[in-house]
């Protein structure tokens, strides 16, 4: 309670740095969630309904990648995008963009795996029916996605939660640069390391409040 009050106070104080941190956090989480969903949901659904050899392997790999440690994801992205790396010419080290890239790498498997699992329940019956009225596979995937839409909101919220909570990857590729790439989690980590536990917890509460607002906004679509 005490901490929540402090969190709100912190936010309302209108500290410029804090505002930047919150903005960067939201930009990063929203973009990475949306991009991961755009990639992961259709592929996941396609995986959930299809019956082909190798499906099992793909699903197992997807699931395995859910267990990719954030630090490792950060490291991989760092190795690729650092100036001397193969993709160094993009010149996006220490930017919000590269943080999004790392997050997408982390979140897409989660979204894919969950989408595959969610669509799997309805896939068989829907496919049989849709095929029977002459709907092509792409149309079937579209219809299946439509059926799963409420669950997709839930899945996207899982992705968002993971994205907003993540620290290992974004601190490595983002550099936790003040006024630029510092986000709430890296700030929390920083304050924790400094021993400012109270500030860290107040920041956490603020983060959770933001997350709660996002979840509340999404709720009607989730449980429609």
């Amino acid at each position: 309670m005490e901490y929540i009050k402090q969190a709100i106070h912190l936010f309302l104080s209108g500290d410029k740095e804090l505002l930047q941190i919150v903005r960067t956090t939201l930009t990063m989480s929203v973009f990475s969630t949306v991009i991961s969903s755009v990639i992961g949901l259709p592929i996941g659904v396609a995986l959930g309904r299809a019956e082909f050899k190798g499906k099992g392997i793909i699903l197992r790999i997807t699931n395995t990648l859910m267990g990719l440690p954030p630090v490792a994801a950060g490291l991989i992205v760092f190795m690729l995008f650092r100036s001397v790396g193969p993709l160094g010419s993009f010149r996006i080290m220490f930017s919000v963009r590269i943080m999004v890239v790392a997050q997408v790498l982390l979140i897409t498997p989660v979204i894919m795996g969950l989408a595959a699992s969610a669509s799997n329940v309805k896939a068989k019956s829907l496919t049989e029916t849709a095929k029977g009225i002459g709907i092509r596979p792409t149309g079937q995937i579209y219809l299946l996605m439509r059926e799963c839409a409420p669950q997709f909101v839930g899945i996207m919220l899982v992705g968002f939660g993971r994205s907003i909570a993540e620290v290992g990857a974004v601190s490595l590729v983002g550099g936790n640069i003040q006024f630029k790439t510092r986000v709430m989690t890296t700030a929390i980590l920083l304050e924790t390391n400094k021993g400012n536990f109270d500030t860290a917890i107040a920041l956490t509460m603020l983060l959770l409040l933001i997350s709660l607002v996002v979840n509340t906004l999404a709720y009607p679509y989730w449980r429609k």
């Binding site: 309805k122 049989e128 029916t129 849709a130 095929k131 029977g132 009225i133 002459g134 709907i135 439509r146």
Partner: protein, 219 residues
């Protein structure tokens, strides 16, 4: 025209669908009848491509994939009209179709909120929204009331006439089987017990066929 030869489908040793030969001429309407578990759905599912046979083959000469209505069809989330439009061929007059199937007043209703018979009606209309040379309907009127059944039978009859459709449908109701079909295919335990013109079906060859039709007669 549908030609089947040597078709076999086995479900983990307790059931085998086995059809050595079967020919359905263009424009024929075949009532597929037989007890529960005799393989009606399995046959229709194989012919529509929903599942694959284990061996043998069949051909549907029109080439195009047949229209197929499963026994428990899926109702897409959304309105009745959305559902019916999903089956739509561009030329179909959707409003007329909805009216014919008594769905016009229900067209804005969510499919998940329909009664059992209303759902079945919607799925039937969705089927007829497309144009097919060959139709497979698996117990299409099992939950509709008598008046509705008769109206839908009429709609189906018109559709088949207009498009010169080869029709296969399964049912447990003698009245439906006789009213709609030109041929009757009786399945028993995965095998054909009888395949004859509807007009002459009162004298089936096999003992099972005789027993089955007798049962129907007293009903």
């Amino acid at each position: 025209m549908i030609k089947i030869s040597g078709l076999e489908k086995r479900f983990s040793h307790d059931f085998v669908l086995k059809i050595d030969e079967l020919n359905v001429a263009k424009g024929d309407r075949v009532a597929v009848i037989g007890p529960n578990g005799s393989g009606k759905s399995t046959l229709l599912r194989i012919l529509s491509g929903a599942i694959k046979q284990d061996c043998g083959h069949f051909s549907i000469s029109d080439g195009a994939a047949p229209g197929y209505l499963p026994q428990s069809p899926y109702c897409f989330a959304g309105s009745v009209e959305f559902n019916v439009r999903m089956g739509l061929d561009s030329e179909t007059d959707i409003e007329k179709l909805l009216r014919d199937c008594m769905l016009y007043d229900l067209r804005k209703k969510k499919s998940s909120k329909l009664s059992g018979g209303e759902k079945q009606r919607m799925c039937f209309a969705r089927m007829l929204a497309g144009k097919y040379a060959c139709l497979m309907l698996d117990e299409p009127f099992s939950c509709t009331d008598i008046e509705t059944s008769q109206m839908l039978e009429k709609v189906l009859d018109d559709y088949c006439r207009e498009n010169d459709v080869t029709l296969l449908f399964s049912t447990h109701l003698p009245s439906q089987a006789f009213a709609l079909s030109t041929k009757v295919l009786i399945l028993n335990n995965g095998e054909i017990a009888e395949y004859s013109n509807t007009s002459s079906v009162s004298r089936p060859d096999s003992e099972f066929g005789r027993k089955f039709i007798d049962q129907w007669r007293i009903c």
